[in-house]
């Protein structure tokens, strides 16, 4: 842990000061909520579907090494080439070398958080390869020179009006009508699809048995990215694999409803291998890059392992009060929100704030929303334990020591009662100290005469009430 690591507290305070962004986020999240609720309500058997999907995700983790072996064989048999990458830099180097060796100058990309994780765009740029994002949201983010703020909706934090201004600046043509805006982006992207030497996609689900890479989208751009250019590079993390098409279907049952509130997205593409002899289209070369980047460590970890069941639906982000308030950028890591606070703990690059697991109110909304059955609070608690083991938390230690001795505890409380009225003065003197900050939005009621001393005085009233309460 270097001292210059990201500071979530500072970043979130800054994010909160940006009222416009907060309002945009609020509106967007309310919309997603409504969509998700509607689609889940429309599926009376959602609980059963979810149980089936959770079982598939669990079974995947139980036999992950076998599945990856099967996957490698199937992809190879379908004319593809499989590469394993241990960490982020190895993965981005591998892809950059691969494309450089083939003389690629322009690559089109579909939205992929994994490519963010390995810093692919930066690596490609350094190698002189232009990489153009083709997902509308991701394209907007790229044009703005930003990072995604959500694992699913990368431009969740950007308003229609902001995009309109951006288009005016970049293309000299604009609108606030969504279909028209899509058209503007499409016109600029179409030329890229045709000119690209390679297409880079992510992978939502990958089927071991058939070597099929499955992607979900609403725009059709991933389909073009994976099929137009002569080379297709698909990037996945190792836990994205499932055994069979039937298992993939079980995951598909819950992914779109939890993510965008759709039964199925507009496009569901299945890429299997490269163009075969006699076929008229499809990439001539297909590469599947399987990234580890700390995940096998998670797999071997009995407590944190369940995070690998994650299907990247974003539901936990959308219900998290912390994410809802500060947005994705405050996290300073590739993956924000509850799932990110856990997953980032193993990522070597851009892991964010090491104390991220403490930035949680324990409301449990994430676990309730998660279709993959991940109990985030338990995992976050474990990460806290591992962190705390190394630290000296004097306040916690002293409180715990007092709590072991009722007499001391009572004496400390009595002392605090005399200090308590002065809390306001402390706050006024040091408004940026912990007390000052805590009291900025609160007026603390102060300590009272303890209940235990009042209880005896209640005896008569209690027995009267009990006599009356005989009717129950």
């Amino acid at each position: 842990m270097s001292a210059c690591r990201h500071n979530f507290g500072k970043a979130s305070a800054a994010a909160l000061a940006d009222g416009e962004s907060r309002a945009i986020l609020d509106k967007a999240i309310l919309q997603i909520h409504a969509l998700r609720q509607r689609s889940v309500d429309a599926m009376p058997d959602f609980t059963d579907r979810r149980a089936r999907a959770v079982a598939v995700r669990q079974a995947t983790l139980d036999r992950l090494p076998d599945l990856l072996e099967t996957l490698e064989a199937s992809v190879t048999a379908a004319g593809g080439i499989v590469h394993f990458a241990e960490d982020a830099s190895q993965a981005s180097r591998l892809i950059t070398d691969l494309l450089t060796a083939r003389g690629v100058r322009l690559a089109v990309k579909s939205k992929s958080m994994v490519s963010e994780e390995i810093g692919l765009n930066e690596a490609l740029a350094a190698a002189g390869i232009e990489a153009v994002e083709t997902d509308l949201g991701e394209y907007i983010i790229q044009l703005m020179g930003q990072k995604p703020s959500h694992i699913l909706a990368p431009a969740l934090h950007v308003s229609k009006e902001q995009v309109s201004a951006l288009f005016a600046e970049k293309f000299g043509r604009t609108s606030t009508d969504i279909p028209e805006m899509t058209r503007i982006a499409r016109d600029s992207l179409r030329a890229k699809f045709l000119a690209a030497d390679a297409g880079i996609t992510g992978a939502n689900i990958v089927v071991a048995e058939t070597g099929t890479v499955m992607v979900l989208e609403n725009e059709g751009n991933i389909r073009l990215t994976g099929s137009c250019p002569p080379i297709h590079v698909a990037l996945m993390t190792l836990e994205k694999v499932v055994g069979s098409l039937a298992e993939a279907a079980a995951v598909l049952d819950i992914l779109p409803p939890s993510a965008t509130g759709q039964t199925l997205p507009v496009h569901l593409s299945l890429f299997t291998g490269a163009r075969r002899d006699g076929e008229r289209d499809g990439p001539r070369e297909m590469h599947l890059v399987i990234l580890d980047n700390g995940r096998s460590e998670l797999l071997a970890d009995p407590i944190l392992r369940p995070i690998l069941k994650c299907i990247r639906c974003g539901a936990c982000l959308n219900v998290c009060p912390v994410y809802q308030s500060v947005g994705g950028h405050a996290y300073g890591s590739v993956y924000p929100g509850p799932m990110g606070s856990i997953l980032s703990s193993v990522l070597k690059d851009a892991a964010g704030d090491a104390r991220q697991p403490f930035a949680c109110t324990h409301c449990g909304a994430c676990a309730e929303a998660c279709p993959a059955g991940i109990d985030h609070p338990v995992l976050l608690q474990e990460l806290r334990r591992r962190q705390a083991e190394q630290g000296t938390d004097t306040a916690t230690k002293s409180y715990a020591a007092l709590a072991r001795h009722p007499l001391l505890f009572g004496a400390a409380a009595a002392w605090a009662r005399t200090v308590d009225p002065r809390l306001d003065r402390v706050a006024a003197m040091a408004p940026d100290g912990p007390v000052g900050k805590f009291l900025r939005g609160r007026k603390f009621p102060g300590l009272s005469k303890p209940f235990s001393r009042r209880f005896k005085a209640m005896a008569k009233r209690l027995s009267r009430a009990q006599a009356k309460g005989g009717r129950s």
Binding site: S12, S325, T361, R384, A400, A403, P450, R454, K468, G469
Partner: protein, 240 residues
Amino acid sequence: MKAFLFIPCLVEHVLPRVGEATAMVLSRAGVAPELPAGQTCCGQFAYKRGRPDLTRPLARRFVEIFEDAPVIVSPSASCTAMVRKYPTLFEAGDPWRDRAARVAARTFELGEFLVDKLGCPDLGSRYVARATLHASCQTTRALGVGDATEMLLAAVEGLTLLPLAHPERCCGFGGAFSVDYPEVSQAILAKKIDDIIATGAEAVITAEPSCLLNISSALAKRAVPVKALHLAEVLAGGEL
């Protein structure tokens, strides 16, 4: 029937009126409340700080104090949830694990106890107010009490419950979270307060003392004339 009162430190020292109301409600339900001596803190704060090692001695103290209780009732869901986690603090085979499990199985949050154990007794409660309910995350999700709070409030004479927007949303306290990340905590809290004010209610009710403290402190800061009440206070009605 006797019940031992498990009074969290927050209630003992900051919200004693919640303890009084709890004792009163139990009495009205025909249950005699007893207050075992020596209670301090359940250790939740240390546990959530990532210090099960500091929590363990407090769990042992709790087990010793409450081991003979026929039933243990607390006006706090988060503290009840902590007690339910006690067994996990001890290794399998450690006798403390079983002792903690026995105590945990007899510990209930007030609303949960009244509904699940006593079958929602008619307490003859009367509280005239137009109020809204903040269903705490600790009650609903952490402890899984379901709609016990709502059921009990529905039977209170004179009480009109107004729907709260986003009832599932956290109030932003989260114990140490509110001190570690004060800006975020207060941003979340501000939304909750806005929602409460928007209902037009004269009172907001919750079954969790930490939410109660958080929400009432913010209402006081904004000088909003909305009362914050614990479920027990409403059920105790005019009897206090």
